[in-house]
């Protein structure tokens, strides 16, 4: 083995400097993008949507991950399943719209018909020796974490999903995702590599300068700060936040709402982090007046002032669970320099638009924030393409989670490719 020449990717992984941003090829190279799709998005649990995306039997949602198209269906036993969206006959794509409702899954090319368990139930003209049983749809691993849907394209999915579900489930359960509906969905194409989109999400260093809406409800201090540099006012604010966090965690835990931080962002294969964070102002929701956006609260909640439960999963999602609504984000890479950011706003399934909530108010903060972030990702993508770019240092006080994202990524790539 001594004379094996490592591939550039292996060398890049080996030479990555901890505490620093990744070298430019990780954000630019089509080859590394292919490797990302195969290793990261092909072999890990990917967050793709919520059970309320397919609320009733016969509902279908199509999610494309790279070249792979997956149909997620709710079958007649109310079970959510995922299949490769490819007919077993001549390979035609089965379902074409992002959301639809079907009786059975039918290929429009030759009407091969599959029931919602993926079994082939109708195929004309195939002769007596044809075995329908051998031509069912190919299943895709799918798990629902309290209503959040994760799929894994690998033959064998990482087995530590259960551990994540056991530890994260109790945090999410009180918000009862299954009892919600998608009030609004917005897809934006960010002009940057998916890792830049993720890195941007994993810190709030940039919030003060860029997110005038988000920082109304959200304390930037919740994501770290450097106390030694702060003036009197900022120090007082940080102390106020520290006290608030301690008091609220105590209250929420006493009320049966798990709130304290769990951080496994670079310590598990199916990595995650969560913490319930106090909100500023009225403390109710991610809105410009910090009050609940929806009159119908989620789950069994009787008051809206429950802070915001933040959940992060590697490699591609983050979520905010509030007392009155949920905002959930997934990042789906398109190519080395473009990524789809899919945001869904969920409210109680019985909530009526215009009566219980005003849509503009519900989505205002995050729609503005997403647009701002998209621009930031774009200028970063432009910058890393410059010959002058070299990896820069992360702040030890506010960019710990970015560092963990990169650690996880480098670790997972290395585990599959060898260092």
């Amino acid at each position: 083995m001594l004379d094996v020449t490592p591939t550039p990717l292996q060398r890049l992984l080996r030479e990555r400097r901890p505490g620093y941003t990744l070298p430019a090829p990780f954000y630019l190279s089509p080859e590394i993008f292919e490797a990302d799709m195969e290793v990261i998005f092909g072999r890990h649990w990917i967050y793709v949507g919520v059970e309320p995306d397919v609320p009733e039997a016969g509902d279908v949602m199509v999610v494309d991950i790279g070249k792979t198209s997956v149909a997620i269906v709710r079958d007649d036993d109310n079970e959510v399943r995922a299949f490769h969206n490819v007919c077993r006959h001549r390979g035609a794509r089965l379902v074409h719209d992002e959301k639809s409702t079907v009786g059975n899954l039918v290929c429009r090319y030759h009407s091969w018909t599959y029931d919602l368990t993926g079994e082939l139930i109708h195929a004309e003209h195939m002769g007596p020796d044809f075995k329908k049983g051998c031509h069912g749809l190919k299943p895709v691993h799918l798990r629902s974490l309290e209503g959040l849907l994760f799929i894994c394209l690998a033959e064998e999915a990482p087995s530590d999903f259960d551990e994540m579900a056991a530890r994260l489930g109790p945090y999410i359960a009180p918000h009862n995702v299954r009892d919600t509906k998608v009030a609004f969905q917005k897809d934006i194409i960010e002009p940057g590599n998916w890792k830049l989109t993720m890195e941007n999400n994993r810190e709030c260093y940039h919030c003060g300068a860029n997110h005038p809406e988000l920082t109304v409800p959200l304390f930037a201090y919740g994501f770290g700060f450097a106390p030694e540099e702060m003036g009197e006012h900022d120090r007082a604010e940080a102390e106020r936040y520290g006290c608030l966090l301690k008091t609220r965690h105590g209250e929420w835990e006493a009320e049966g709402l798990p709130s304290r931080e769990i951080d496994e962002l670079d310590t598990m294969v199916t990595a995650f982090r969560t913490e319930r964070l106090p909100l500023d102002g009225e403390g109710e929701s991610h809105t410009l007046d910090t009050k609940a956006a929806c009159k119908k609260l989620l789950g069994d909640f009787t008051k809206p002032k429950l802070g915001g439960l933040s959940v992060w999963t590697q490699p591609n999602s983050w979520h905010h669970f509030l007392g009155d609504h949920i905002v959930t984000f997934s990042v789906l890479p398109l190519d080395a320099e473009r990524s789809l950011l899919r945001t869904k706003w969920l409210v109680h399934k019985d909530a009526v638009e215009g009566v219980d909530y005003d849509l503009a108010n519900l989505i205002g903060v995050w729609e503005a924030t997403n647009d701002q972030d998209s621009e930031l990702v774009g200028i970063c993508q432009q910058g890393v393409a410059s010959p002058a770019y070299e990896p820069g240092p992360y702040s030890p006080n506010t960019e710990m989670l970015v560092e963990k994202f990169c650690n996880w990524y480098v670790g997972r790539m290395a585990a599959h490719l060898g260092r």
């Binding site: 009733e56 039997a57 016969g58 007649d76 409702t101 079907v102 009786g103 059975n104 039918v106 429009r108 009407s111 018909t113 029931d115 139930i121 109708h122 004309e124």
Partner: protein, 377 residues
């Protein structure tokens, strides 16, 4: 205190749920009324209090247990949907007609019959107009009566002229009620035409069969009206010819028609019986066995006749019309189409969702018409 809990009539009036024949097809006969010497009205209601919802002119399909045999018959509802707590059919005794005789001789208060429906789109509601002409012969009076009663009950300022043909004054069904309605409501006019005098009443009105002269005398502005016709086939044929001759716009002519021509073998016997009934008594009500409906394909502008016991897909195939299809058993949904007008009976095998059905979609491979249809194909 709560009289509704003990008083059956109060309970029936308090009923809020609609009768759903799919859930319970049993109807109890509450009362039998002698309308004329050979016409009876049977008042029906579900065992549990329910409200009926239908369009005036619609019919029910009944399964009567006559002797050891189950015989299916369609009867138009004669009552008005404005009085939703009970429903009536009005039946004329037909010499040699097993069903009408059985009904007259056997069905009494407390008995149960089975019924499906309501069905059909022969209704003034399907063709809204300000002025109507209702033409009926014999017991073809029933759908007209339902329409007339509905407008009367609603107090709608609707100009309705009702011209009924009967054999004699003693055979005018609902005569007193129609005359009362005409007296109370100036916008409703009733005219009877009789072929002969009754033993105890000489007919002073127009005599003979309905003619253009008689019609012009009674309803001079008949050409401006939406016309509904129901009665024995010879009557309807004569009316059609008469209106056409008078230059009437036949797009506004609607009749309750029954095609006895292309009946499948299984229904031959029943059809023959219905035919015999018609021969024996020219004024027998339109109570047929197998109906044929008009199916119009809106995009391709094709029209075909589809018997009620044949799928739309099969009828289309026979007519040389090619519709997208594959499994032909309600599984694959390839033939899924929007039915923009009319109703079908569908037995699918999972190829369509209830939500799609609710949105007007149907699988043509397993849908049989229960009314005229317009299909978006």
């Amino acid at each position: 205190m709560n009289s509704a809990s003990t008083e059956p009539a109060a309970a029936r009036l308090a009923a809020s749920a609609s009768w759903d024949a799919e859930a319970d097809d049993a109807l109890v006969c509450l009362a039998v009324r002698q309308e004329t010497h050979d016409v009876k009205t049977f008042v029906l209601s579900p065992p549990e209090p329910r409200r009926f919802a239908y369009a005036p002119g619609q019919f029910l399909t009944f399964a009567f247990e006559v002797g050891a045999e189950t015989i299916h018959r369609c009867y138009t509802i004669s009552s008005a949907p404005t009085r939703p707590h009970a429903l009536s059919i009005t039946v004329k005794r037909v010499p040699g007609g097993p069903v009408s005789n059985w009904l007259h001789d056997n069905l009494k208060a407390g008995d149960t019959v089975r019924a499906l429906g309501p069905m059909g789109d022969f209704s003034c509601f399907t063709h809204p107009a300000q002025k109507y002409l209702l033409l009926s012969g014999g017991s073809g009076v029933t759908p007209m009566m339902a329409m007339a009663r509905t407008f009367h009950d609603l107090g709608e300022p609707r100009d309705v002229a009702f011209v009924h043909s009967a054999r004699s004054p003693a055979d005018i069904v609902f005569r007193a009620e129609l005359e009362t309605m005409a007296r109370l409501d100036p916008s409703f006019r009733f005219h009877a035409v009789c072929e002969a005098d009754a033993p105890d009443e000489a007919w002073s009105g127009p005599k003979g069969r309905l003619s253009l002269d008689i019609l012009t005398q009674a309803v001079p502005d008949f050409r401006e009206r939406e016309v509904f016709v129901c009665g024995p086939k010879p009557y309807m044929d004569a009316v059609r010819a008469m209106l056409r001759e008078a230059g009437f716009d036949m797009a506004r002519h609607h009749e309750e028609s029954f095609d006895f021509g292309a009946l499948p073998e299984a229904e031959q016997q029943a059809a023959a019986e219905a035919g015999r009934a018609l021969d024996a008594e020219a004024e027998e009500a339109p109570a047929a066995t197998v109906r044929t409906f008009r199916v119009e394909f809106a995009k391709t502008r094709r029209v075909l006749d589809c018997p009620e016991n044949e799928t739309v897909l099969d009828a289309a195939r026979k007519a040389g019309i090619r519709l997208p299809s594959s499994c032909a058993k309600g599984l694959c949904g390839t033939c899924k189409s929007k039915v923009t007008k009319g109703t079908v009976a569908m037995t699918h095998a999972g190829g369509i969702r209830q939500r799609e059905i609710d949105a007007g979609m149907a699988l043509l491979c397993c849908s049989k018409p229960t009314s005229d249809l317009v299909v978006e194909r």
